[in-house]
Amino acid sequence: MVKESKNAAPRATDGVARSPLYRRLEAAGARCRAFADTVVVADCGASPEEEERLRCLAWADFSPLPRLGYKGWEALSWLRARGLGVGESGETRCSRDGLLAARMGDEALLLGAARAAAEACQRCAADWEKERPSGVFPVPRQSLSAWLRIGGTQAPAMFAKLCALDLRTHRFPNLRVAQTVMARMNVLLLREDCVCAGAPALPAYHLLMDSAAAEYLWECIGDAALEFDGVPVGCDAFLGAWEEAPQAFGEKGARK
């Protein structure tokens, strides 16, 4: 566990849990900061310009942030009983604390990108340990899948160089989930647009991939993004200006 400190800048290797991409980020000039009980890359040396880069195309490593999955014939009802909205397969619900609950077949995937959501994610894991409900089986998404956040108006065009699925914004709506193949690797793709007050929503996606293939896909994305001037950025480009803005929520939990 890493404690937040205002004095010394933490490093990606401070904790025992490391993102499979930390070397890539260090090479890109990453600067880290504590977030919840982990270390995230705050920026890649170009803050605050990184928020502007995000308007076109940028991506960040969210791998250190909490995420988990649950499978089994009782998984959905257990999660719903805990007040977590889990929709139909292929849908994502967003709770008030920002926890994303995506449903793929019989698995529910919980993503805790915002601070409160991260805590909610951890609470859920602790509850399962305590209850050990039958028919509910955790999927170790924290280590099984690396997590990238990709955003920008050019993101769908960039995806078209990697993925045979039609991910254009009017075909793949916000809060939609797809299990698909990207650069010949299985991935989970979840669209959750970046919103901030007074600005139009920016297409943004959560991409979960086999953690062993994270470096490979990082290279593929970097190559595909070249023509769109896409760059890797720190998490703050997503977590800071965009997602910490005051937000309103729809009736079904989807962000407006």
């Binding site: 280590s143 293939a213 190559d223």
Partner: protein, 994 residues
């Protein structure tokens, strides 16, 4: 003479017409380029060919076989004659490639003295000795004559350019695209269809091969309300319609199932998936076949119109027009208005008619009706100088020539053929109404439609109306209101369409040189001789004569060939048809196919630690694994042997993260494993590990691993690195039928694993483990599994011994893998721990006689053959493959066994004895070696091999050795090995169970 013709021509491009002629060119932007070493000027918007023609340069290449001078024919990229070398790049289409400043252009397939004087052109004199298929009859004897004599000569004299080996690498890319309606061809029909589909709310992608949309609207004469008014109106509508996306300069190069279309645009390949496809690909004008029909200056009528209108180039001074329809009269009028003197119009029809004919007559041009061009004559530089005309008696035969007309341009407008490649690839067929008519397309699959000229419509109003109707039909189909595209489409009659000329435009000459296929220099006699040689089917004619096999893929030869074959075999052109249309439609660069391919790879959490330690990595499936560690550039064999001995005498650590990991959870987990694997698991205690062996329904071994029972309802199962995906798929498939209360989850990437092995393994582990994790054999025996913390990390520990020593496999979340590796290395310093690669692991397991699935097994291996009956629980009521194994055992179906052998104490044997070496008995092959290695612990060469099932311990095996480097492969090298009992090392298993 028209006003345009009276204006002086540009001095440095003497054949350029003054403005406003030339839709494509920018007269304020001159470009300089060099062709065959000489400097020329052109204009921005020119193609290479148009710029050369504007300078009076017609000869672009030499033909394939007879090295005849050749120039452009279609100005539409349909023939091989315009292929040139540009800045070192071979096979660039001069009539399609845009001119750029500073281009260095060279002709191809010409001799050492350049394009103008090619000694190989003398071959034409001896053409009677080089009939079709002569190489099949002449070049195969004596035995090596082709390889060492003929082939070098043929290769030096023919070919399509040379690959530039020092070409700089270029970036080629691929991208997916999607649309509701794809329209291929942005002519009048294509644009009308696109607009109609867009009005219906569809997303439309309009694809055009040429840079300028409009198709024939750009150059054809019969455009009403001004030359460009209708085109500009359509273009404006297309541009202003938001749901139409237009791709210019893009070639749709194939059709694949479900409207999957590869679109090539420059260096990018778009992979388009269209819900509805509209092919508005137009027609290809066909040449007439007569003697010397390939001379520079003999072009299609549409080519002349393209030159005039698109590029503002006057194609000749004095022209003759050969026609069989109204088209030729339009060409004649266009030429006349551009200042070209038209000597005559030669109409193959006996009684010409129509408005254009009347206009030509009114202007005083001579018309030879019922006549043909029997021969073209070459003048200076091989260019057309005159034509000889003859009166047609009947189809294909004519009187002797009595008229000779001097000219430097012959335009042919004798018939059209639908652009059939894409429809035929989609499954359509060509029909042919009669001997003298052209082909038509029918039998299109669902979701594919034709529009406009490709369907036989001729007039602009008909084409536009058809485009609109087809676009509306596509919208209706997408809305679910009818999907039978072809049934709803009415085809015009040939007479109505004017697409086909009811004449026979093929005229044989006593002296030959009437070219049917310009790519391959095939004459009428070649096609007829192929039929006479017994090749009566078109596909056979094609293979024997190579007709249609050149770069133009029969675009100008298919119709003439079908007619000739039909007449020679007494058949109908409809029955003869055309040869199978296969992708690609046109030549495509290898770079387009090779560009931006994905080669997935997976790396363990410790990957970079291995590299830092000097590991030599090897690919194992998608994974990268350390083969051995050589930090000081030590030799491979030495490194491997040191790593083996480190495990035998001290302690080594192997990254086993690549092993498959599966969580099997639920109340029926044990029952599930009992059915899916050969062994028994229902009574397996919690905290214990048991070997798993998987067979398929035929009883063939497909995978192995271990099952760790972590709880009554929870097993953690490992699988082989390359096999886990199949195992996972298998498990899901079987349980979909069994419906047991069990959940299966592939967690391979979730865990990093380190195998810590060797007599000092426990000491290393103790140094990094919490005190509450008891490691003594009494507390944590062999084949035990524990959960605890290692170096503070949550871990699963498995006491298993693949390498035959005291060993622990430590599995932690992959996010912690690097930290685990570091901790074990640090904790193991005082015990001499060292990283060990998989090459050493392979030797270690061989010493223990353990098999590797995939290396020691094949698609027939059963547990019995592997002598692993101990891993099959025969009393179980069922497991996958159980019934087959029972039958095989009962009927003694197998006659081989995997046996262990020793081959002596000479370390060099390893170079002679290799995996896959053959076992011989009385000269017959009776088996093969699957694994072999020099054992540093035993100081001998050991291995596993499939041998006859009656092989006994002590028996001598005869193994065919492999000749070492530098020795002849034919040298017989029979080595002897002795069958021994496995394992080779620590037969009592005392070392691993300590």
């Amino acid at each position: 003479m028209s006003k345009a013709a009276a204006t002086p021509l540009a001095a440095d491009a003497p054949w350029r017409l003054p403005a406003p002629a030339g839709l494509c060119v920018r007269r304020d932007r001159p470009l300089r380029f060099r062709y065959e070493g000489r400097a020329y000027s052109g204009l921005e918007g020119d193609s290479i060919a148009s710029a050369l023609l504007a300078n009076g340069v017609w000869m672009l290449s030499r033909s394939f076989k007879y090295h005849r001078p050749r120039g452009p024919l279609s100005m539409a990229g349909l023939e091989a004659d315009t292929l040139v070398r540009v800045n070192g790049e071979a096979n660039v289409q001069a009539d399609m490639e845009a001119l750029r400043d500073g281009m260095e252009i060279r002709a191809q397939n010409c001799g050492p003295f350049g394009l103008r004087w090619d000694p190989s052109a003398l071959l034409g004199i001896f053409s009677r000795f080089l009939p079709v298929g002569f190489y099949y009859k002449a070049m195969y004897r004596p035995r090596l004559a082709w390889q060492y004599f003929w082939e070098p000569i043929v290769r030096a004299m023919t070919g399509l350019g040379r690959v530039r080996r020092d070409a700089p690498p270029a970036y080629y890319d691929k991208m997916y695209r999607f649309c509701d309606v794809a329209v291929i061809g942005a002519g009048a029909a294509g644009m009308a269809a696109a607009l109609e589909a867009a009005r219906g709310g569809c997303e439309v992608l309009l694809v055009e091969q040429e840079e300028r949309p409009g198709g024939m609207l750009n150059y054809a004469r019969d455009v009403p309300d001004g030359e460009s008014g209708r085109r500009d109106e359509l273009l404006r509508e297309v541009a202003e319609t938001p749901n139409i996306e237009f791709l210019s300069g893009t070639l749709c190069n194939a059709w694949f199932a479900d409207n999957w279309l590869p679109l090539v645009q420059g260096r990018r390949l778009y992979k388009l998936r269209a819900r509805e496809l509209i092919l508005a690909t137009g027609v290809m004008e066909q040449p007439a076949v007569f003697r010397n029909n390939d001379l520079p200056g003999v072009i299609l009528g549409s080519a002349a119109q393209r030159l005039l209108r698109l590029y503002g180039v006057r194609p000749g001074r004095r022209a003759v027009v050969l026609t069989a329809a109204a088209d030729g009269y339009e060409v004649a009028l266009d030429l006349l208005e551009a200042g070209v003197e038209v000597s005559a119009v030669v109409d193959m029809r006996p009684a010409p008619e129509g408005d254009c004919f009347q206009e030509v007559v009114r202007r005083g041009l001579g018309v030879f009706s019922g006549s043909c061009v029997l021969e073209a004559e070459a003048g200076r530089g091989g260019h057309l100088a005159a034509v000889r005309l003859a009166h047609i008696i009947s189809g294909g035969s004519c009187e002797d020539s009595k008229v000779r007309l001097e000219c430097d341009l012959l335009c042919m407008s004798v018939g059209r053929m639908p652009t059939y490649q894409l429809p035929l690839q989609a499954g359509a067929r060509l029909s042919h109404a009669g001997d003298l008519e052209g082909f038509r397309i029918s039998g299109l699959p669902e979701r594919v439609r034709l529009a406009g000229a490709v369907r036989g419509f001729r007039s602009l109003e008909e084409v536009l109306a058809d485009g609109r109707a087809v676009g509306a039909a596509a919208v209706a189909a997408l809305a679910g209101n009818g999907g039978d595209g072809e049934a709803a489409q009415d085809f015009p009659s040939p007479e109505e369409s004017g697409a086909a000329s009811p004449v026979w435009p093929i005229f044989q000459h006593a002296r030959g040189k009437e070219f049917v296929d310009r790519d391959e220099d095939l004459q009428i006699a070649d096609i007829l001789n192929a039929c006479a040689d017994g090749y009566a089917e078109l596909e056979l004619v094609k293979r024997y004569s190579t007709v249609g096999m050149g770069p133009s893929q029969g675009r100008h030869s298919a119709l003439a060939t079908a007619r000739l074959v039909a007449r020679a075999t007494g058949s109908e052109p409809a029955r003869v048809g055309v040869t199978t249309a296969r992708p690609p439609v046109a030549a495509e660069k290898l770079g387009v196919l090779a560009g931006r391919c994905f080669e997935p790879e997976r790396r363990t959490a410790m990957h970079h630690r291995h590299l830092e330690a000097g590991a030599r990595m090897l690919a194992a499936g998608l994974w990268w694994r350390p083969a051995y560690y050589s930090p000081g550039e030590a030799a491979r064999e030495q490194c491997i042997q040191e790593e083996v001995l480190a495990v035998r005498n001290g302690v080594g650590m192997i990254d086993v993260s690549t092993l498959g990991g599966l969580e099997v959870r639920g109340p029926d987990a044990a029952e599930f494993l009992n059915r899916i694997y050969t062994f028994a698991y229902k009574k397996q205690p919690v905290g214990r590990v048991r070997y798993v062996l998987m067979t398929n329904e035929a009883g063939v071994v497909t995978d192995d691993g271990v099952a760790c029972r972590l709880a009554e309802d929870h097993f953690y199962v490992t699988a082989t690195t390359g096999g886990v995906e199949n195992v996972y798929r298998n498990m899901l498939w079987w349980n979909a039928q069994w419906r047991l209360r069990v959940d299966i989850c592939n967690v391979t990437a979730a865990y990093a694993g380190v195998s810590l092995s060797g007599p000092r393994a426990r000491e290393v582990l103790r140094s990094v483990c919490a005190a509450d994790l008891r490691l003594e054999a009494s507390d944590f025996p062999y084949l035990g599994v524990r959960c605890g913390r290692v170096a503070g990390l949550p871990a699963r520990l498995l006491r298993i011994g693949f390498v035959g020593e005291l060993g622990y496999e430590i599995h932690v979340p992959s996010t912690h893998g690097e930290a685990l590796w570091d901790a074990l290395l640090r904790g193991g310093v005082e015990f001499g721990v060292r990283p060990v690669g998989i090459e050493a692991q392979r030797v270690l397991r061989l010493e223990k006689g353990h098999v590797i699935i995939g290396q020691d097994t094949d698609a027939m291996s059963t547990p019995q053959e592997l002598q692993m009956d101990w891993a099959v629980a025969g009393k179980k009521p069922f497991f996958v493959g159980g019934r087959s194994l029972e039958l095989r055992a009962r009927h003694q179906l197998s006659d081989r066994r995997l046996v262990a052998f020793e081959a002596g104490d000479d370390p060099d044997l390893g170079t002679l004895l290799r995996e896959s070496s053959l076992l011989l008995r009385n000269g017959a092959i009776v088996g093969h070696v699957t694994s072999v290695a020099w054992s540093p612990a035993l100081r001998k060469t050991i291995g596993l091999a499939y041998a006859p099932s009656d092989s006994k311990v002590g028996e001598v095996l005869h193994i065919k050795g492999q000749a070492p480097h530098g020795k002849s492969k034919d040298e017989k090298l029979i080595l002897q090995a002795r069958v021994v009992a496995a394992p080779f090392y620590d037969a009592g298993n005392q070392r691993q169970e300590v």
